[in-house]
Amino acid sequence: MTLNRNLSSDMNILLVLFGIAALFEILGWLLMGQSFLFNTKRLTIIFLQVSIIGIIAVGVTQVIITSGIDLSSGSVVAMSAMVAASFAQASGGFMMYFGGISDLPVIIPIFIGIAVGCAAGWFNGAITAYTGIPPFIPTLGMLVAARGIAVLYNDGSPIIGLTENFKFIGSGIMPVIIFISVAFIFHILLTRTVYGRRTYAIGSNEEAARVSGINIKSHKVLVYTLAGGLAGLAGVVMCARATLAQSGMGQMYELDAIAAAVIGGTSLFGGRGRITGTVIGVIILGVIMSGFTFLRVDFYYQEIAKGLIILSAVIVDQYRHNRSVSGAS
């Protein structure tokens, strides 16, 4: 955890980001005859696009640091969005979820959305911590189940007619502000508090953490709960931005979030990872998506490119891990 190493690992990812951005800039001038980067509108869109994924990725990062994984985020986003939206409807709409409930203060649907996410995360964490089942399984179960709940919640129909105050959460650059705030808070949590110290310790050497008296089970539950809560918040922001909630929201977001964390230098072996890296990782994803669209490259090529980048990030992680293992013994 030396300052130098932190800086250098963040610097490496930042260099990758600059490299990719520069590549699109050059290709932009060559192929499209215009700048890719020097376009405020495009940059704004990049940040807006990645904010929702970013909020999820922050939660997923700390789960991966404990050497866990959370595959459920995408569905938890949809489930939280549906429930939150049902409490955020304005009066006078023609498709009211709760006949008697409308125009609630905006804090209530926000709180409920986050709470639904926390509940899902708590469930993931409790099963992982108390049964010893690898987190891959319970979170995969939650991925399927939460999507089912999201569909059932309003019989597959979207929930529309949200209050103006609620829609404000998703308007303009609000999602970016929320993402940056979340990233900042969790950066402080991970680097400056007992919570962070123990999260790294568990991922680094669970046995050592256990004999040091850290309550592994309750800590894991807390980590997964917070990750779920962030997925819930992402759902709230997402439906506020879309001005409606539907059960198909957030599909495959869990994979983008994991990808962002891994690209940002979070080790799938646990014990290593930083929110700053994840933020850069998220921006890399956004730049790639936006860059390919800018060059009018087919969507499916984007997916292939994204896959290759994730793959190389994992290979780098594996290489680093092997080196550190052989170095320690």
Binding site: M1, V194, R197, A201, G203, E207, V211, S212, G213, S324
Partner: protein, 258 residues
């Protein structure tokens, strides 16, 4: 002070399912004493350590520490009472730095907000330096992560935990098993320093040369029982080995508390 009993177990038994890992163990260590625990693999040495350090709870039997009966529910409880343990598998988190490892599980904070308390890194760094000084350990940069250090340095960090916190009893489980010759002698020197300071120590070791060299008494474990407690000055390697392997007959008659 020599006859003040620090830790005593009476009839300590641990069953894993039907397996008797530890059977009716009576053990006693007095202040200032260094006692080694030896025995073959699976003889119950590590199981014994796990019971008296709160990592596991015994199936039956009593543990007395510092004059009072104790029931350590967790390693933290044992530590709070004053038992510090250096574990066999180097219980260190590779990705954390030296102070973070020394204070793992009992971090110094500015004010208590539960898990969200802010860490007092400055205080932990200063206390770590103090602890390392007391054990005469030199580590160039404490802010380096443990994973980048040599086996000896890592073990010294683990041991310096015991010096950072005032402890009434130190337990070391195979502290030199993974170390080279030089690093081993470094650790042995730390143990001698502890002896001079009068801090009681339980040393689990396979290394009979080391054991005979360092401690006052040797408790031999065999099949979950203490088969003999030998005076290090009056015994030799052959006698110890014969107890370890069970060549010395009459295991049951020789089972004494001390």
């Amino acid at each position: 002070m020599q006859n003040h009993v620090v830790l005593k177990t009476v009839g300590l038994t641990k069953l894993y399912g039907g397996v008797e890992a530890l059977l009716d163990v009576d053990f006693e260590i007095k202040s200032g004493e260094h006692i080694a625990i030896v025995g073959d693999n699976g003889a119950g040495k590590s199981t014994f350590v796990r019971q008296i350090t709160g990592v596991e709870q015994p199936t039956s039997g009593e543990i007395y520490f510092d004059g009072a009966q104790q029931n350590f529910a967790s390693p933290i409880a044992a530590r709070k009472a004053g038992i510090e343990t250096v574990f066999q598998n180097l219980a260190l988190a590779d990705d954390l730095d030296v102070p973070a490892n020394i204070f793992l599980g009992r971090e110094e904070v500015y004010f208590n907000l539960g898990p969200f308390s802010f860490l007092n890194e400055k205080k932990m760094l200063a206390m770590s330096e103090e602890g390392l000084k007391r054990t005469a350990i030199k580590i160039p940069n404490l802010k380096n992560s443990i994973g980048n250090m040599s086996g000896g340095q890592r073990q010294c960090v683990a041991i310096s935990r015991t010096a950072t916190f005032a402890s009434k009893l130190i337990i070391m489980d195979e502290p030199t098993a993974a170390l080279g010759v030089q690093e081993t002698s470094q650790v042995e020197n730390i143990i001698r320093t502890l002896k001079e300071q009068g801090i009681p120590l339980i040393l689990v070791s396979h290394n009979l040369r080391q054991v005979l060299d360092l401690v006052d008494k040797i408790a031999v474990f065999r099949r979950g029982r203490i088969v003999s407690v030998l005076d290090a000055k009056k015994t030799d390697g052959n006698e110890i080995v014969s107890f370890i392997t069970g060549l010395e007959s009459g295991e049951h008659e020789n089972t004494t508390g001390i």
